[in-house]
């Protein structure tokens, strides 16, 4: 479905991502964990076409997509829920959702888009109650729901989520993750999930990659990573248990 082959990315003179290879199979939830500054957001940016790669290839359904523009990537069916949500604050909830369907146009699609909007409202009923409200006035959790809903409006086959749990109360965070799993189960959506909160991410994902200073350090099924001592020490804060 989605594969990165020896991807190198530079920020000026800084080598931010070093020869990273990873793959996400259809219907899989893959977690990409790592500390601040490990290069996680940069990698997602590269897949979305927001950041240019310095070397290597990004494949989607077998085609190289690393040179495509961001809107072309969205049209191919890869949507991103960006870090810090980035909802369009002054615009209404409804306009935010319509913007998500931006790549779908024409009269015939209009009914489809309206139906998808209703599906998002069914998924997150709180958004329906606030559809005329400016998105900037929503709570953090509601904004995250809106950001996910907006990404779904493009009818993606693959969803990239950048720290969906950031700054949310644990209960809200849990609910967001539950929805992500539900999306995969019900719609067969492929998910690449970037998180600093390794525990919650590995709890819902099938496989995981650990990124450190731009390199893939470890990879494997999520349970294995959860049990791995290095991961526990570095990201789960369980050093004493292990000893």
């Amino acid at each position: 479905m989605l594969a990165l082959e020896n991807v190198d990315i530079f920020h000026g003179r800084i080598h931010a991502v070093r020869r990273v290879s990873l793959h996400v199979d259809p219907g899989e939830i893959v977690a990409l964990i790592g500390a601040n500054g490990a290069g996680k957001t940069t990698l997602l940016g590269a897949i979305s076409g927001l950041v240019r790669v310095g070397g290597g290839r990004i494949l989607h359904k077998g085609d190289a997509i690393q040179t495509l523009s961001p809107d072309a990537v969205v049209r191919r069916g890869i949507s991103q829920v960006p870090e810090r949500r980035l909802v369009f604050g002054p615009l209404s909830v409804e306009d935010n959702l319509l913007l998500g369907a931006y790549t779908r146009r024409g009269r015939a699609r209009k009914a489809d888009v309206a139906a998808d909007r209703e599906a998002v409202y069914d998924m997150f009923p709180v958004l329906r109650d606030r559809k005329k409200q400016a998105a900037g006035t929503l709570s953090g959790g509601e904004q995250q729901m809106l950001a996910i809903g907006r990404a779904l409006m493009a009818r993606p086959s693959a969803l990239l989520l950048d720290e969906p749990g950031m700054g949310l109360a644990p209960a809200v965070c849990k609910e967001i993750f539950r929805h992500i799993v539900k999306l995969r189960d019900e719609r067969g959506l492929t998910v690449l999930l970037v998180e600093q909160n390794a525990k919650s991410a590995l709890a819902v994902s099938d496989r995981g990659y650990v990124l450190e200073t731009g390199r893939i350090l470890l990879q494997g099924p999520s349970e294995e990573l959860l049990a791995n001592r290095d991961v526990q020490r570095a990201y789960l804060g369980r050093e004493r248990d292990a000893l």
Binding site: S69, R75, P82, G89, T137, R150
Partner: protein, 331 residues
């Protein structure tokens, strides 16, 4: 949902009626002159507002697009002997084409590159107008532009010319309102809020910025040809950097991202110097003081202040204090 052409029709019709009635409340023809120039400035401000208020891009060279079109129709209708409609078409197309050429490379970059490019462009155009004396007449201006005549009707009287400008302005306002309410308008507001988020939603931001920039230059071009065939005389001093800045001030003073605000700002700033004529030597000081007061007491511009007053009236009528006011754009 109503069809696209029927949206905002009521607002535009109300505006057109107000423009139609305005001359009947004015004591003499001199005021109509000011209204015409105000209308022409309002046309440029409308276009600039789409660029500045909605797409968040600054152009410091709109006076040049205005002037380019004015000079193009001047040269075409006199030296080349082309009919007036052809000259006007050439003028508008030239402004749009040049905007496209400038926007192509600069709008792909993030940041204020468009401001810099248009700043330089405006200065170059001004120099060319001054120096190419054989074509433009140089600093003393270009004389002998024919007064507008269309389909056998000659707009000789100021009143008839005013109604032409008013009609064009009302149509341009309707067009702008509909554009903002459309899919394109939503994309523009998204770009203004967050470019990254707009990109992840699949909006081709470089393409839309370029489209709006070319559109706003075309608005300035339409204003330019109307200006040339109204005064029958153009000179480089009308199209300098000072006027470009003044246009930006019109949009900001009127209220960013408001169609009505931009036009109100344009009319206000066109009429203000005339109203201050009586103060003779201190007029420029009073002009400055009024601008400072506007920015201090109406930080959201005239449109923002009007919306505030409207909300307060609503509150008084309901007799209670509601919670947060609605966000979003005005007009």
């Amino acid at each position: 949902m109503r069809p696209w052409y029927a949206r905002n029709l009521a607002k535009a019709a109300f505006f057109a009626t107000a423009l139609f009635l305005a001359p009947f409340f004015l004591p003499n023809e001199y005021y109509i002159n000011i209204l015409i120039l105000g209308g022409i400035n309002a046309l440029i401000a409308l276009g600039l507002n789409l660029l500045l208020g909605y797409a968040g891009q600054i152009s410091l060279g709109h006076a040049a697009f205005f002037g380019l079109a004015a000079y193009a129709t001047a040269v075409a209708t006199t030296r080349l002997g082309l009919p007036i409609p052809v000259g006007m078409g050439l003028g508008v197309s030239l402004s749009a084409l040049v905007a496209w050429l400038i926007g192509m490379p600069t709008l792909r970059l993030r940041g204020h590159y468009l401001a810099m490019a248009t700043l330089g462009f405006g200065i170059i155009v001004h120099i060319v107008m001054n120096e190419t004396v054989e074509v433009t007449g140089g600093p003393s201006g270009f004389v002998g532009i024919p007064r507008l005549a269309l389909l056998g009707f000659s707009f000789d009287s100021d009143r008839s010319y005013y109604y032409l400008v008013a009609a064009v302005l009302a149509l341009a306002a309707l067009f702008s309102l509909n554009l903002i309410d459309s899919r394109v308008g939503r994309a523009l507001r998204a770009i203004h809020t967050s470019e990254s988020a707009a990109q992840t939603a699949g909006v081709d931001i470089a393409g839309y910025k370029l489209f709006v920039f070319v559109l706003s230059a075309a608005f300035a071009g339409v204003a330019g040809v109307l200006y040339a065939h109204f005064l029958c005389f153009v000179a480089p001093s009308s199209f300098g950097f000072h006027f470009s800045v003044q246009l930006v001030v019109m949009v900001v003073l009127g209220g960013m991202a408001s169609v009505w605000g931009a036009m109100a700002g344009a009319f206000f700033l066109t009429a203000l110097p005339e109203a201050l004529r009586g103060f003779e030597e201190v007029d420029i000081l009073i002009y400055g003081a009024i601008l400072v007061a506007c920015v201090m007491y109406m930080p959201m511009g005239m449109a923002g202040a009007a919306a505030g007053v409207w909300r307060r009236i609503g509150r008084l009528r309901r007799g209670r204090v509601p919670g947060q006011g609605e966000g979003g754009h005005v007009g």
